[in-house]
Structures are given as C-alpha cells and as structure tokens.
C-alpha cells in the first residue's frame, strides 16, 4: 500500500446497519433548513433565511467593480474619436476581433483617424489587452455592459458610431505629453518634501513598482 489507504471494515456497527439513526439525523438537517427558510420567507424576513436565490428580472446581482464588458471609444473635446488608427489594438488582440481601416485626418496634427472601426463582440474574449495597448486612451473596456443578445450574428459586430455612442470625453492629455516629456516633467512644479521621506517612495530612487508588487 504505497498510497495512504484507509481500510474500512464493512458492515459497520449495528446502529450503522440499521440506518435509522443516520436517517433521523439527515431528516433533522433538511427539516431544520426547511423550517428556517419557510418561516423566514412567509414572515417576509428573507434576509434571515439561508436562501441564495436571486430572482433575476427583479433583483440583479451587482457586477464586480472591475467587470469589463463592452468596448467603448472615447471622444475628444470636440466630439471626434480619439483613436488615431495606430493599429496597436488589432495587433495585440488574441481573438482578431478588431478591424480598423485608417484614413487621413483633416487635422494635420493628428494625421490618421479610423475610417472603419469594428469590433466583433462574438469573437471578443474580453481580455482587455486592447485597452492596455491603446496609447491614447481611445478604447476602453469599462462599460460594465454585457454583449447584447441579437437575432443575427451581424448585429453583434459593433461599428464606430455604436462604440462612440457609449464614449465620453477623456481627461487624458490629447497626444500625450510629447517626446520632450522628461523636460516637461522636471519643469512641473513639485511639492516640497516634508521631512526626510518623500511621499511617493524613496527619494531619487527608481520606480518602486517591483518592491511594491512583491508586497
């Protein structure tokens, strides 16, 4: 007996063979549950019962805060799409559900914008990589909405307007800080250190992400 084997001698004792004590015990357990749930339900004190049912159309279980849900495309201050058609999201997408066709933007500073931006929500695996890859906060997955049920598969493919209808203006700086971000960051007014320890980690050291993660 290499593995730990417990030898059970059957039949067991007389009381075990009679079944009756065990049956009475089992009936007691189920009866207790029944009485508690029944009277709690009848007297309207659902909270005190053990009932785990959520009566769906009337009651809904709140989603967790970080539930992703359907995509949305964020907007600029003037209501145009923030996306610059950089193709980061279709590249990173493991399910190949994002289709982008770029065109020239009338605004010379931005150069590109999506002519077609379609996401097939049936193929999407809701991994959130597209939102992570996006450099300009254009695509987000924080709508907390399910993919809507449709009668045709075509209807599950969301186009640019549909995705933008869910979007809002983003607070991120359009176009980022730019290639001279080091200068801009050092020029930015810093809070004077109060005491020896800086509020955001050790002074002058590299980013403390690794050590924070380890915690």
């Amino acid at each position: 007996m290499a593995v730990g084997v417990k030898v059970v001698n059957r039949p067991g004792s007389l009381s075990q063979q009679m079944f009756l004590p065990a049956i009475a015990e089992g009936l007691g357990v189920t009866f207790r549950h029944f009485m508690k749930n029944f009277f709690g339900n009848v007297t309207g004190r659902r909270a005190k019962t053990d009932i785990a049912t959520i009566e769906y159309p009337e009651e809904k279980k709140p989603y967790p805060e970080r539930f992703r849900g359907l995509h949305r495309l964020m907007l600029r201050d003037d209501g145009q799409v923030r996306c610059v058609a950089c193709m980061m999201c279709p590249t990173v997408c493991p399910a190949h559900c994002i289709t982008i066709v770029a065109e020239e933007a009338p605004d010379g500073k931005i150069e590109k914008r999506p002519k077609i931006f379609e996401i097939d929500e049936l193929r999407c695996v809701v991994c959130g990589l597209c939102a992570e890859a996006c450099p300009c906060d254009a695509i987000r997955m924080d709508s907390s909405e399910h993919a809507h049920p449709t009668y045709r598969r075509v209807d599950a493919i969301l186009d640019k307007e549909e995705l933008m209808s869910r979007g809002t203006t983003s607070t991120a700086v359009q176009g980022g800080v730019g290639s001279f971000w080091r200068e801009k960051v050092t020029k930015a007014p810093q809070t004077p250190p109060s005491g020896d320890v800086a509020p955001h980690g050790p002074p002058g050291g590299p980013t403390p992400i690794a050590s924070a993660d380890r915690k």
Partner: protein, 401 residues
C-alpha cells in the same frame, strides 16, 4: 319506503357516487396535483432555494394572482396536454397507451376502503355523531366497507406493478425494459414486507377492515384498554416497516431503482406529454393513498384522541346551530362529520410532507442493496414482529382470562 328515501337502494347508490366524487375529485386528485408543486417548493426550501413561484392568472387591470406558485401544476398539466403524444414506431401500441393508466388507476381504486371521517348523521337533526355512534342510521364516510379491507388494498396496489413493467416492455427500449424489470422485482420484494407489517396491526385489532380499525383507535394511548390505542404505540416496528415498504412501493428516491435517473432513466423513458404526466401523477397518488392507509392503521384515522374528540362533539352540540336551508337541514352532526374530514386531511397532509422530506433527504440505494434490505433485513424483522406480537397477544388474553 321509496327507492330514494333514506336507506333505500337509490339513496345508497347516490351516497356512494357522492363519496366517490368527493374522494377522487375533491381530495385525491387535487392533493396529488398540489403535491407535484409542493414537492418542488419544499425541496427548494430544504436546499436553500426558492422553488417555482411564478405561475399566475392574469386579473383585470394588470393584476396578477400568484398564490405562491400553486398554479404551477395547472401550467404543467396544460403543457403536458399540448405536447405531442409520441409513440415509438416499434412499441406495442396498445400496451404502450394503456400502461400509464394501469399504473395510476390502482392508486385511485384503493381509496375505496379508506375511512375519511366520522359517520354522518343524515336523518336526525339534533344529535352529534361522535366516536360513540349515537346515530341510528349512520352514513359511514368510507366508500366501500369491505370485510377483506386491507387484502383488497394489497390486491389492487400490487396491480400497479403491471403498469410499470408493461410500460418498460411495451416501449421497445432496453433501458425502459431494465426499468420495468427492476420495478417488478422491487415492488414484489417489498409487498411481502408490507403484508407482514400489516399482519401485526391485524393481530392487534382483530379485523382487516380499515373503518373498524379506525373506530377502535379512539384513544391516542390508553393504558386501561390497550386495544383502543393508536397503532403506532401498539406496533411501532410494524409502522416503520410499513413506512419503508410504502415508500419503496411508490418508487421514489431512497428506492428509485426502477427510475434510476443517473443510469437507466427508467420504465417511462419513451413517454412524453400527458402519458408521462400520468406516471408522475400516479406516484403522487400512491403517496397520498399510502399515507391514508398509514393514518388509518397506525394514527387513528380521523381520531385525535378521546379528549379532543369529545370536546369537539360537545362543542358542536352546544354552540353550533342547525343550519336550516329551505329544502334541507344541515345538522350539527353533519357539520361535525365534515370537520372530522378536515382533521383527517391534516394528518394525511403531514404524512405526505414527511414522505417528500424523506425523498429529498436520503441518498438512493443500489439495486443489490435494495434487494438485500428487502429480503434479508426487513422480511425477517417483519416476520419476527408478527411472531412476537402474536405471542404477546396470546399471553395477554390468557392473563386477562
């Protein structure tokens, strides 16, 4: 005396028809139908769920009558009726069509011998018929007062095995066949135990007629006259054996080998629509009738003990007036009898709930365990019970003589 006068042939025929209609349409079928819903609701509560509660009748002005979901059995019946009545192409058509009825009908037929209330006083307007039968011509609340009584119960209820077996055979399906065979072996094994368990009660009360047995159990527990106590105190072991065998006869979960959802689906695997519904309803009818037999044999029928019975009889004599409709006088005795029907049905209801509780609490037996339990445990115990009961009664009789 004309035919339709009190006590005449026509009167007796009408009386019997009224009692049959009450028993079948007024008690058995409604209770069995409601049990189909109650089982789901009760088991849900036992498992921390809510159960079906959504069926409703739309009322005017957009209101809905829910009644806690009781109407689910109506919805189920409508669904069953609307479904296709499918017959497999190689099935034996005739037997396939008749098997569900053959498995349901015995449960309705055995209800004929069940006493369901105190005898009714028809002619006399003043008296209350209590436990002491003060009425000169009582109308017994029992459809048929047969002297063979319980033997009739065994004879008819053992016919329901034909329903299961023929359903399995006629379906032309191997799994159904297995289920039918298992049903026959199981029901035959447990009928023996059931008969032996009843034999004990027969020895104690000296009759096989359920009405007479109920009449004797007028006290809950009497120390001066043992024979008038409830059967549960005279035959506790007999009650447990009968309960076990009765649950096995209904083919429900601790003994659901013939159905065996995890393995062979069962003898009704090919059935759909209302024919399946008849098997389903038949199971619940068997629960009700076996509960009624148990109540009659071991729990005093409509009796709730001498104190409560005599209190009720005096209460009805003293405080309830005769209700004078212009064509007919509803007497105190009449109302008292109707009230005893209510008291009786409380007991039946509790027993049905108890059987549902058992069905949703216990795990199922394996086939070999089931037969071993039936033949090697319950049968010897029930025979020993009969022998010991006979010896005790013999000793007690010679002692008192």
């Amino acid at each position: 005396m004309s035919t339709f006068d009190y006590g005449g042939t026509g009167f007796q025929a009408i009386e019997a028809i009224v009692k049959i209609l009450f028993m079948v349409l007024g008690f058995l079928m409604p209770l069995a139908s409601i049990l189909t819903w109650l089982e789901r609701r009760q088991s849900a509560m036992m498992q921390d769920r809510l159960g079906p509660k959504r069926a409703f009748i739309p009322l005017p002005r957009g209101k809905r009558l829910y009644l806690w979901g009781i109407l689910h059995f109506v919805a189920d019946a409508l669904k069953f009726i609307k479904k296709e009545d499918y017959v497999p192409s190689k099935a034996h058509k005739f037997l396939f069509m008749w098997a569900p009825i053959m498995s349901m009908a015995p449960a309705l037929i055995v209800a004929a011998i069940i006493p369901f209330g105190a005898p009714l006083c028809w002619g006399e307007s003043q008296q209350v018929v209590g436990y002491d039968n003060a009425c000169s011509h009582p109308v017994g609340l029992q459809i048929a007062r047969l002297d063979i009584g319980l033997l009739f119960y065994f004879a008819i209820s053992s016919l329901s095995v034909y329903g299961a077996t023929l359903a399995g055979w006629a379906s032309h399906n191997k799994w159904a066949m297995m289920g039918g065979l298992r049903a026959s072996s199981q029901m035959m094994s447990y009928e023996v135990t059931m008969g032996m368990a009843v034999l004990g009660a027969f020895l104690v009360y000296g009759t096989l007629e359920p009405g007479a047995i109920v009449e004797q159990q007028s006290h809950i527990l009497s120390f001066s006259n043992w024979g008038s106590s409830w059967g549960i105190f005279m035959q506790p072991l007999g009650f447990i054996l009968f309960l076990t065998a009765a649950i096995a006869e209904t083919k429900r979960t601790p003994f659901d080998i013939p159905e065996g959802e995890p393995e062979i689906i069962g003898y009704f695997v090919e059935y759909s629509g209302m024919r399946f519904g008849l098997f389903f309803l038949g199971e619940f009818l068997e629960i009700v009738t076996s509960s009624a037999i148990m109540v009659s044999l071991f729990f005093g029928g409509w009796h709730w003990g001498k104190a409560i019975d005599s209190f009720l009889a005096e209460f009805f004599t003293a405080h309830i007036p005769n209700i004078n409709l212009y064509f007919f006088v509803i007497t105190k005795g009449f109302l008292f009898s109707l009230f005893t029907i209510f008291l009786w049905s409380i007991k039946i209801f509790v027993f049905c709930m108890f059987q549902l509780l058992i069905r949703w609490s216990l795990p199922r037996f394996r086939s070999d365990q089931l037969l071993r339990l039936g033949w090697q445990r319950l049968l010897p115990i029930s025979i020993a019970n009969v022998v010991v009961t006979a010896i005790v009664i013999l000793v007690a009789q010679s002692w008192s003589r």
